[in-house]
Amino acid sequence: MEKLIALLIAAPLLGAAVLLVGGRRLDRVGHWIGTLLSTASFVFGLLLFADLLGRNAEHRTLTQHLWSWIPVEGFQADVTLRLDQLSMTFVLLITGVGSLIHLYSVGYMEHDERRRRFFGYLNLFLAAMLLLVLADNYLLLYVGWEGVGLASYLLIGFWQHKPSAATAAKKAFLVNRVGDMGLSIAIMLMFTTFGSFAFGPVFGHVGDASQGKLTAIGLMLLLAACGKSAQVPLQSWLGDAMEGPTPVSALIHAATMVTAGVYLIVRSAAVFNAAPDAQLAVTVVGAVTLLFGAIVGCAKDDIKKALAGSTMSQIGYMVLAAGLGPIGYVFAIMHLVTHGFFKAGLFLGAGSVMHGMNDEVDMRKYGGLRKYMPVTFVTFGLGYLAIIGFPGLSGFFSKDKIIEAAFAKGGTEGWILGGAALLGAAITAFYMTRVMLMTFFGEERWKNRPTRSPGAPSAEPAAEHRGEHAEPHPHESPKVMTIPMIVLAVGSVLGGGFFSIGDRFLHWLEPVTGHSEGHSPVSAGEVTAATMVCLVIGVAIAWAQYGRKPVPAVAPRGSLLTRAARRDLLQDDFNHVVLVRGGEHLTRSLVYLDHSLVDGVVNGTAAGFGGLSGRLRRFQNGFARSYAVSMFGGAALLVAATLLMRAV
């Protein structure tokens, strides 16, 4: 059965290779090949899942050693895959959601002549992501880690001829690289500490390692997680990443890749458990981000950016949970999975909306769409309910648990974190309601006006192919797009309940992550109640602002906070001023120095000899008698020197 694990990765990898190398002759069938192979991978996943279920909890870890990768004196890196409950969960999420989104893209990218390549990239992403979650050592994980980075780079910049897209792609890769730096340093630390970076040895010897080393490793891993999962302070790339086609945003920047950070932390549970300081840092990052993302989400008029903000904040929840240690790991993953469902659903919905609206992304130009695209409305709505944590839907279960766990951390920390989580819940309710209202309710602001007003951000240029700039005719998307949405909607409705009833998920994952029931100062019931209250408040405020009064088609100036939030709370501007500008100045001055100083010294020496030579040759003045003088002087010197030598 282990043999199948490699196939999980091999299938999409093959797809990527075929599609990218195959060339134009595959243009017509390319997308189906891609979809097929990702589905195949999903099927393998299911088979393995069945196999795991067949075993008892202790023996649910399968490993497959493929080959010895980097064998060097004292340094062994193998290509070994490890399938346990944790990675299994991810495999199913990735391949499942992935396949759905492949399907969706078939319709969505229909009019793009580079569709084959798009599917190639998607498959490449799946392969890399699967490698990430299946790797048995950190170095191999690193390969997947950067692989998904590459895939996301390629997909964000898929419409490369758009400078904004190209820039966003580059930015995403660079910010991720900063995170990767953290990961590689972490690996080096592990190597110096444990002499290995394979999961087994590392987790096995955590006990023998010094506290400082462990904390350092933990922090470095956290840095990596921040990069990949768009956590403060490395969150800036996620918003721009929305330049990519919407399916990409759904798959990579909502459901799967961005959650890799959470996976990393949960996977490294052993290390973090032994390094409380690192854990604290994790929780702080999580809490900050969940508020940060939520606030940003409130201010965005671009539907995808709003959703991106929400993604950020939801992942903040997960990181927070992961930081809480054994209390939280399971719920982090659980929220991760449910979030995978509803956020993917929401994005696909957004895509479907844009599809019907000539790729308009500005929500202020939407409105009242519910009767034009009912399926989208329903699926989107369910996703909405799920994310705000409407009782009974998946978000409700997972998020609630996290908040509970946050309080359970105890002490002031517990209160602060819990409070933050609650506040986050409220804000979430607010901005999601806002999105909902602006898009599907209210008057139809897109009437009697050509969309794509000059100022508005121009998103997907598929429009250019259709060449429409006139008033849009909202319409429902084709089946191939709606079916995935429906499936995901179902997932987001039932998922949470299915997992939580009888703590199925808990028992499933516990053997890997371990679990401990924290005794929370506030009872579960109270937390739920509080959450509900926040939820209601959030929705109410949103209704008051966007439901009752009409939404202005042009964004009002807004309060200072609003404006700041629109600019991602100025964090990006900071980067620009400090890093970009500063870097440019640095490089420019270095270029100058290299030329004038380092090179100057060399050329200077040459010139110096030239000058000396020019001066010396003047003695050669052509007069025989002056030559005689020099000879005479020379002779005198010679004699004098000889005598001197004897004297001394």
Binding site: R617, R618, Q620, N621, G622, F623, A624, R625, A628, V629, F632
Partner: protein, 99 residues
């Protein structure tokens, strides 16, 4: 009288000759100064020969004369041809090649 004085004389003559080479412009005169230096050497030879009481020095002196004579032949030939070309025997005029 002490033969060493002859040495002083030789040194003096030699110096005079050398100085002449350095300061005189006319090639012939320069050349004569060289001859003077050679003679100074001869004087030294003979003196030392007397001092050491062997004949090597004297023999050397004769050879020097012969060599000097040969030198004169060659030297005059060159100088004369130069003079005929340039209508001047000044050493300083011949300074086409420099630097």
């Amino acid at each position: 009288m002490n033969p060493v004085n002859y040495l002083y004389l030789a040194g003096l003559l030699f110096t005079i000759g050398a100085t002449g080479v350095l300061i005189r412009r006319n090639a012939i005169v320069v050349f004569m100064c060289v001859e003077l230096m050679l003679n100074a050497c001869n004087l030294a030879f003979v003196t030392f020969s007397r001092l050491h009481g062997n004949l090597d020095g004297q023999v050397f002196a004769f050879f020097t004369m012969v060599v000097a004579a040969a030198e004169v032949v060659v030297g005059l030939a060159i100088i004369v041809s130069l003079f005929r070309t340039r209508h001047s025997a000044s050493v300083d005029d011949a300074s086409l090649m420099k630097l």
